[in-house]
Amino acid sequence: MHRFFLFTSIPFLLVILFAWLTESLRQQPIELIPTLSGKSEYCLTCHSDLPEISASHPMEVFGCVLCHGGERLALDADLAHASMRGGKNPSDLAVVEQSCGGSDCHSGSSQAERDHIQRVMTSIQATYTGAITNILFTFGEQSDLLPRFGALTVQDTSLPSKTGIRSLEAFNPSQHINPIIQQFAQNCLTCHISAKAREGADFHRQTGCAACHSPASQSPYNTSLDDKPKHTLSNAIPYNQCNTCHNRGNYDLRLMEFVERADQPATRLENYYQPIAQFTLCEYTLDCIDCHTAVEVMGDGDIHATQKDIQYVQCRTCHGTLAELPLTKTLLDADDRAFRLALLNPMMDLAIGDTILITENGEPLWNTRVLPGGSYELYGKATGQRLVFRPVMGSGCKQNEWEQDSQSCHTCHALER
C-alpha cells in the first residue's frame, strides 16, 4: 500500500508541476485601452507587429475592436476571431455600417459630404445596375432601360434625388429562366464591390471600402500585385488598384463570359489600359484618382442608372476650352473641403489664398493650383510627382468649339499604339 501511495503521489506532483509550467510559459497579455472605447483589449498580444492602418486611425485612439469586432479579452485565436465583423475585412458592405459607420465617422451628414457609406452603397460601384439593366433589356427580360435591379437592395433616402431613381431591388437570377441571364449572374457579377473578386493576383482586391482603400500594392509602378490583404487604409490609391477591376479583360456577350486579357503589358501605357483605344499623356502618366473625383468613384448619394451618368470629369475640367478657362476657386475658408481632403493625403502644401481648379459640380481638385503665369500645377495623389500644364485657351488648338469632349481631344493628343 505504501508503494501504491508513492506511485500515485508522484504523478500528482508531476501534474501540479505541469500546471505551474503551463501557466508560467503562457504568453504575457498585452493590453490596449483605446481612448474612443475606453475598454481593454488584448489583440496586440498576438498582433503587435501589425502596422498602424492609417494616420487617421491611430491605434491608441481606435484600437482594433471598434472596427474589427471580435472578442476583445480572448487570448485564444479561434474565440478572439469568432465574432469579427466581415472576417478579415470589416469594411465589407454587409457590415460596413457597424464597422465604419456612425455620425462621428463615415456615415455622417450629407451636408458635410461625409455620408460616405450611403453614397458608396448607392453608387454604381456597389449596385452594378447599369450592367444588370442592359443585360436584362438586351435579352428581352425587361422592355425598357429603366434601372430596377442592383447587386444589392438599395434605397436613396436623401432628397432631392437628381436622378429620380428612389430604389433598386436585389437582382435575383433565379427569377429568370433565360439561361443567358443565369450565365451572366454566374460569370459577370464579380466586379461590383460587394462581390468577391475573380481568382488570380491580377484581380486581387477586397470588398467594400477596402476594395479601393486597402491597395494591394502601394507603388503604382509595381505591376505585380501582392495577393495578401494589407493592413492599410489609404487615399493614395495607385492606378493598378483600380486595374484589379478595370481593364482586366472583356465580356463576351455571346457566351456571356469574362475573357481575361492575355497580353503581357511591358510599359505603363500598356498596363494602364488594354490595347483597344488611344490615350493621351495624362491618362498614362497620372493615376486614375488624379483626375476622377471622389464623387465620381464613390457616388453622390443618388442612384444612377449607368457609369456614364456619374462619370463627368473630362479633359476640359482641368484644361478648359478655347473659349473658357477651367473653373477655379480661391480658398479663403480654413474649413474648406479642399483642406480636409488635402490633409488626408498630404501630397502638396495647400494654403489659404491658393486658387485651385474645381469641377463643373464644384468639387475641389485639391491637388491642383493656379500658378502666377497662368499655368497650373498638379501633384500626383499616389506618386506625389509635380506636373505643370497649360490651359487650351491661347494655345494653337484648332478644335471645333462644339467638340470639346475628351474623345475629340484624343483625335490629336492620343498616342497611337
Binding site: 501504491f4 500546471a19 503551463t22 472578442e71 479579452l73 480572448a74 485564444d76 474565440l79
Partner: protein, 314 residues
Amino acid sequence: MAVFLSLVLLVTGILELYYYIPTPTDAALSVQTITYLVPFGGLIRNLHFWSAQLLIIVSAVHLLRVVFTGAYAAPRRFNYLIGLGLFVVLILLNFTGYILRWDQGIQWALIVGVNLVKTIPAVGNFLYRLITGADTPGAATLLRFYAWHIFGLMLPAGILIIWHVFQLRRDGGIAMPAPGMHSDTSRITRFELVRRETVAVLLLSTLLLLLAILVPAPIAPAIENITTIPGDSLAPWFFLWVQQMLKWGDPLLWGVFVPLIMLTILIIIPYGLPIPKNAELGRWLPKSNRLAQIILVVMASLVILLTLLGTRSN
C-alpha cells in the same frame, strides 16, 4: 469521490465568484477575463468545469451501483430518495452553471430550455416567468440563474450531501447482508480506509488536473442578440438525449413528460418493484431485484444511445 469533487467545485467556485459579473453585457467578458487574464484563472475554471462533469458521471455510476447491489432496499429507501434528489439538484446546478457563461454556446439551450417550460399545461407560463424573471430572457434571467447557482441550489445540495452521508451512518453504513448471513466478517482498519481514500483522491486529482490543463472548458463569443436561436448549437452533454428526443416532435411529451416519467420510475424502484433479499444485500446483481436492474439498464442504454445520436447528428 463525489464529496471530493463537490469540495473542489466549492473552492474553485468561490474563486470564480471574485471575478464573475452576472450581467448580460459583462458575463461572457468576465468569463473570458477569468479564462485568459487572471493568473491560473483558466486552470481554476477548467477544474470547476471538469469537476462538475465528473460529478454527474460519478453520481450516475453511484446510482447504477446502488441499484445493481440492491442497496436501496429498506431501511435505505429514504436515503435513496435523498440521493435521487441530490442527483437532480446536481444536474440543475450543472445546467445553471452552464447558463452563467451567457455566451453564444449556451444560447440554444437557454432559449429552448425556457420555451420548453412554457409548454407545460396550466403552470407553464408561471414557471417560465419564475425562471426568466421577465417576458424574454435577459438581465433578470441571468441574475436568477446566478442566484439559483450560488444559493438556491447550492444550499440544498450542501444540506442533501451532509444528510445523505449522515443517513448512511444512521442506516448502518453501506448495504451488506444482516449479521450472520455473510461469510467474510473482516473489516478494514480506519488507517487503511484513510489510505485508500487518499489514493483515490490523488488519482482523481491527477485526472482532474490533466483534464483541466489539456482540455479547456467550452467558451464562445458573447451573445449579440439573445432572442435569436443559433442554428448549430448543442445542448450541454447531459441534456443531449433530451435534445435528440425533441427532434421527434411534441416538446411537451419528449422534453418534459418522458424525463419526468423516467425520474418517477427511479423513485418507484424501492417502493413498487421487487426488492432484494436480505442475504443478497451489497452483492452485485442480486437475482431478487432483477426487474429494477433491467429497467435501469434499459433507461441508461437509451440515454447513452440518444446522447451518442445527439452528438453525431450535429
